[in-house]
Every structure is written in C-alpha cells, then in structure tokens.
C-alpha cells in the first residue's frame, strides 16, 4: 500500500537550492522521517533538504502533520523512522536543548513566551547559552557578570530593534498584543544564534498590515543573518511571496515540493489544499 501510493504520488526527488547554496552543506537534511502515535501515522516518508540561506515553506490542510514535523526536527518528539541532520549532525536521541545548540530555533503555533518576564528578558533567556558567565560568577556577581550582562542587554536591544520592538522592551510579554508576541517569539529564537529558524504560523492572528510587515521582516532576517528559514503558514499570500521552495503535506506525507509556481499549478495540491480554499471563496461569493 505504502509503496503503491508513493509511486502514484510521484514526489519529485530533486531538491531546490538557491544558487549560492548549491555546493554548501545543507543546514537541514531530513531523510524518510516518520512518527506513529499509537495506531496513527502522523508523519511518514518526509524528506527535505534546506540550504544555508533558503526560505522554505511547509503547507498543508489542518491536521496534516506540519507542527508534528517541527516537533520532530527540534527533538520534542523522537521519530519512529528516518533521520534528521542539522548542519550534518544526526539529532537522534538528543533532548530539545541539545538540538537547539546544533543551530535550530523555533517559534510555536500557540505562542509560548515567558509571559511573566519582560520582552527584554525573554530575549535574554534566548541568549542564555551565548552569555559567557560562569555559575560562580553569577552567584558572586564577579566582574565578568557585569560585563556579560551589559553585553547581553545591548545585543538583546539590538535584536528587539531589528523587529521594531524597542518600545515594548520593558513590558511583560504576556501583556503584549498578539502580533507583537509573535514577533517577540521570532526575536527570542534569533537570540539563540541559530543557523535555521522554524516559524510555526508566524502570521496567525495578525492583521493584513502586520502580515505585510512580517513578510519584509522574514526576508530581512535571512538577508541580515544569512540563515535559513522554514515556515508553516496558512496565509497563501505570504507563503507564495516569501518562500523560494515549498513542500506540501497531507495526511503526514509530502504531496509535492517545488517553487511557488510549480506548487500552485500542481493538481494534487489544488485538490488537497488550495481547492478547498477556492471552494470556500466560491461559496462566499
């Protein structure tokens, strides 16, 4: 059954890489990834290669397994099958915090900020492993403590400024508007100094002008930090405009991969995903 459906789907085996990424080691290399929850196969046969400065998208209907894939890539779930290589290192068996140290950071579909802490402190928690201050120095407040804290403050403020969040630096993260929280989560992920960031529905809950700003910011993150971005998003306008490569999943399997144009024209995608959207707009009209 599995073999049969794989043949039927004719998933292209080539990978899209930006010209400048062509002969570089991919930042993310996922092979035949799969996970079962009891009897339910949530993800199966998932392959993707992402170059060091690529913006890629992951789309698919609700419950397709997109968030589960992110959880597999970050070590939140251990896969039943397949492997994930981050910068060439297999994350098998690693806990989430170690996987993060390999250079992958993420945001969450249901925002997970440290709500009781200020926006600035949220970013500084993200910088935790980058702050050079020993435990003894932290307890005794030795000179290196003051030095590292000052540096951390400056860097965190710079990062906040990058996403136009300077004004809210001293506010409790939990009290910020939805769209601001989403951007703060991106800053916190950036603070871990990643080589790839995963954004799980970054535009969810944003108004159209916020979404447009976010599109610019996503490109600016890639251009400034020279990192890869892999995002899940239901806003087709954002996905088609920002992503250079798109993978479409349904029922935990990849239906197709390609450029936005290729994906847009693929009949399987239209049926599984876009078709549904069109149907909806038809009904509305």
């Amino acid at each position: 059954m599995n073999e049969y459906s794989k043949k039927m789907l004719k998933v292209p085996t080539y990978t899209l890489l930006r010209e400048q990424d062509k002969d570089k080691q991919p930042v993310l290399d996922v092979r035949n990834l799969g996970i079962d929850f009891g009897g339910l196969t949530a993800v199966d046969g998932f392959n993707i290669t992402i170059g060091p400065t690529e913006i890629s998208g992951l789309i698919g209907p609700n419950g397709a397994g997109k968030t589960t894939i992110f959880n597999l890539l970050t070590g939140v779930y251990q896969p039943t099958r397949g492997s994930v290589l981050i910068n060439g290192i297999d994350i098998k068996g690693m806990p989430t915090h170690k996987v993060n140290k390999l250079g992958i950071a993420r945001t969450f579909q249901n925002i997970r900020l440290f709500t009781d802490m200020t926006a600035l402190d949220n970013v500084k928690v993200g910088m935790h492993n980058g702050i050079k201050c020993s435990f003894a120095s932290s307890v005794l407040h030795l000179p290196s403590y003051y030095r590292s804290e000052k540096q951390a403050n400056e860097m965190a403020m710079e990062l906040l400024d990058f996403m136009s969040l300077t004004d809210v630096a001293d506010q409790k993260a939990g009290s910020l508007p939805y769209g601001v929280q989403r951007r703060l989560e991106i800053v916190r992920a950036l603070a871990t100094n990643p080589s790839i960031i995963l954004l799980d529905e970054p535009a969810a809950g944003m108004n159209p002008s916020e979404t447009t700003e976010l599109m610019h910011q996503i490109r600016r993150i890639r251009d400034t930090f020279q990192i890869a971005i892999f995002l899940i998003e239901h806003d087709m306008n954002l996905v088609m405009n920002v992503c250079e490569a798109i993978a479409v999943v349904n029922y935990g399997r990849i239906i197709t991969k390609g450029t936005p144009d290729e994906v847009r024209q693929n009949p399987a995608v239209i049926e599984a995903y876009l078709g549904r959207e069109e149907g909806k707009t038809d009904a509305e009209n």
Partner: protein, 362 residues
C-alpha cells in the same frame, strides 16, 4: 551615573532594601544587647531566628522561584547540624579559634547537605510532576531515622562511626559525639548572633544574586514555560538540579549553625513538622518574595515562643494568626505571584467546589 541606573532598576532596589532591613535590625539588636536590655529568652531566639530566615530564603529559591515543592528542607538542615557538630568536634585541637571552627563546620555541613541533595536530585529531577515533593518528604523522614540511630565518637585511635550500639566500640577515654537516639550531647556552643547575621547576609547574597543572573532568568523561564525554555537551549534538568543543590547547601549551613547553638540536639528536631513550618514561612511571606520570607520567618518564629505563657491556647492563636495573614495577603497581586504549588492546591479546591455546585444544579 552607574549608581543612578542601578537605583532605577527595581530589582536592585528591592534587593538593597532587603539588605538594609536585615542590617538595621542587626544593629538595633546589637545596641540593645550592649545596653543589657535584652532578656535571656530573647537572646536565646536570636540565633534560631537567623537560622530560620536562612532556611526560609533558601526554600523560597526552590518553592517560590523555581516552583518545585520540597517537603524535606529540615532533612538538609539536620544533615548540616550533625555533620557540623562532628566537624567542630574533630577540629577541636586543629583549629583552636572558635569562629574559624564554626565557619568550617558550617561550610562542611553545607557541602555535605549539597552532596546529598545532588544524589537525591539525580533520579528525581528528571521526572516531571510532584515526585520531588514525595521524595523529599520520604528523604526527611529517612534522614531523621538514620541520624536517630547513628553513633559517632572519637578515641585514641581516631574517629568511629556506626549505625548500631553493638558495632560501636570506643576505646578507653573515648567520647561520643552523636549517641544514637540521645542525639548529639555535650556540644560546644559555638554559634553566635553575629555569625547568624553573617549567614543571613550570605544566604541573601547567594539567592538574590542567583535570581538576578542568567541562571535566575533561566530558572524563571523553566517555571514559566518548560517547552519554550528547552527550545532555546536551556537544560531544564540541570537547572532544577542547580537550584536544588544550592538550596540544600544553604539549608545545611543554617543547620550547622543551629546544631552548634545548643548543648544537645536530637534528630527528632529535624522532622516533617519543621519542614512544614519552613514552608509556611515561605508561603505566608510570599512565593518568590525574599524580604517576605525574612519577615515571616522572624515573626512566625517569635510568635509561638512569645505566647508560651498562654500554654495550650498558643497553638490555636498561632493558627488564627496564620489564617488572618493568609486572608490579608489574598489580594490579586499576591495571587498573581502564587507559584505552581499553591495554584495546584487552589485548582484542587475549585475542582471540588465546582463539582459540588454542578451536583446541586441538577
């Protein structure tokens, strides 16, 4: 300029206030004592108050700041007390200076308590949920029973230790340091109010510094959102461990000072009741509120002692005071600060209440 920005910072200001309050109270006490205005009973409270302040502040690090419920703080206190007594006795001849010997005993007691905390933490802190509360509860009781059956002494051959009378053979002229159920007897009272004050300052210094460092931010982050904390590279188990060991270390130091404040100490002093009392200090002082712990430990320690004259009624009065304080602090701001621990208790009550309500509606 730097000072100005420091003072603007709210946390540095509250920390400063805590230090100032402690130093001011110490100075007043010293002056009163010098003028001979303190009764002998009040003098007797001074060291234990310092000890309980340290215990409350160190437990607050664990319960209030990390959101980990520990029910065995008295166990670490006990380890510190008995190891401190043994260390002080062993160093009798090597270090003639009382203050130095007391310091060694406190540091030694702290280290031993920290090591035991580490060993307990290895299996427990990997688990999520209420395991820490259960295990620390058991640990406190086990500790009490082990120490209650421990014999230690010195003779011409050196140091002897055993867990039963029959195995304990002290040579001619040997002296018991710990004598099983009788506890430690003939302890040289090394503890002083000044050392108690130093201990309180040290505890405040360690806990407040820790809270205001990247470690403290990580601890708060773990409590706030464990999954997010892991996603930014924070090793949650390691952080729970650090907080647990630091807290045990400070409790051990306080315990050593406590043990060396009396001529005899029994293991039953470090029972579940004592652990709960310290927890009450923390809860009533405010979860995560360091100055609150200092004040509530002082007031709640003195209160039952001061009411001794009322005999049987004093515990009733004490309970009433606890309830009143609880009601007074039940403001929205306080509620906000309640950590996971009290939230759990609350949700349990609400759950029962709602079920009952739903039942009556039908």
């Amino acid at each position: 300029m730097a000072m100005k920005t420091l003072l603007k910072n709210k946390t540095t200001r509250t920390n400063g206030i805590t230090y100032l309050v402690v130093i001011a109270v110490f100075a007043v006490m010293q002056v009163l004592n010098g003028a001979g205005l303190l009764g002998s009973s009040v003098k007797g409270y001074l060291v234990p108050i310092c000890v309980y302040i340290s215990l409350a502040v160190s437990l607050n690090l664990l319960v209030g700041i990390c959101g980990e419920l520990s029910l065995g703080h008295a166990g670490f206190m006990g380890i510190g007390a008995f190891s401190g007594i043994v260390i002080a006795a062993l160093l009798q001849d090597t270090i003639p200076n009382d203050v130095m010997r007391l310091l060694c005993a406190m540091v030694g007691g702290g280290i031993l308590a920290g090591v035991v905390g580490f060993l307990i933490g290895i299996p427990v802190l990997r688990l999520r949920g209420d395991y820490l509360a259960i295990v620390t509860l058991a640990f406190g009781e086990i500790m009490k029973n082990i120490v209650g059956n421990l014999y230690a002494g010195i003779d011409a051959q050196g140091f002897h230790m055993a867990i039963s009378t029959s195995k304990m053979k002290l040579g001619e002229g040997g002296k018991y340091i710990i004598n099983g159920p009788l506890g430690a007897t003939g302890v040289q009272k090394l503890a002083t109010f000044t050392m108690g004050f130093v201990l309180v300052l040290f505890t405040l210094f360690v806990v407040q510094n820790l809270v205001n460092s990247k470690e403290g931010r990580a601890i708060k982050a773990v409590r706030d959102n464990r999954i997010a904390a892991e996603s930014v590279g924070i090793n949650v188990t390691a952080f729970r461990m650090k907080a647990f060991v630091v807290s045990a270390f400070l409790a051990g130091m306080a315990g050593a000072l406590f043990g060396l404040n009396y001529s005899s100490v029994t293991a039953s002093k470090f029972n579940f009741n004592t652990s709960i009392n310290i927890l009450v200090f923390v809860v009533l002082g405010g979860m995560g509120n360091i100055l609150g712990s200092v004040i509530s430990a002082t007031v709640l320690y003195v209160l039952p002692e001061a009411m001794r004259g009322l005999q049987d009624y004093r515990m009733i009065l004490y309970a009433v005071v606890l309830i009143v304080v609880m009601l007074c602090t039940w403001s929205p701001k306080f509620k906000e600060k309640l950590s996971i621990v009290s939230e759990k208790i609350k949700s349990l009550f609400w759950g029962l209440f709602k079920k009952k309500e739903a039942g009556t509606n039908e």
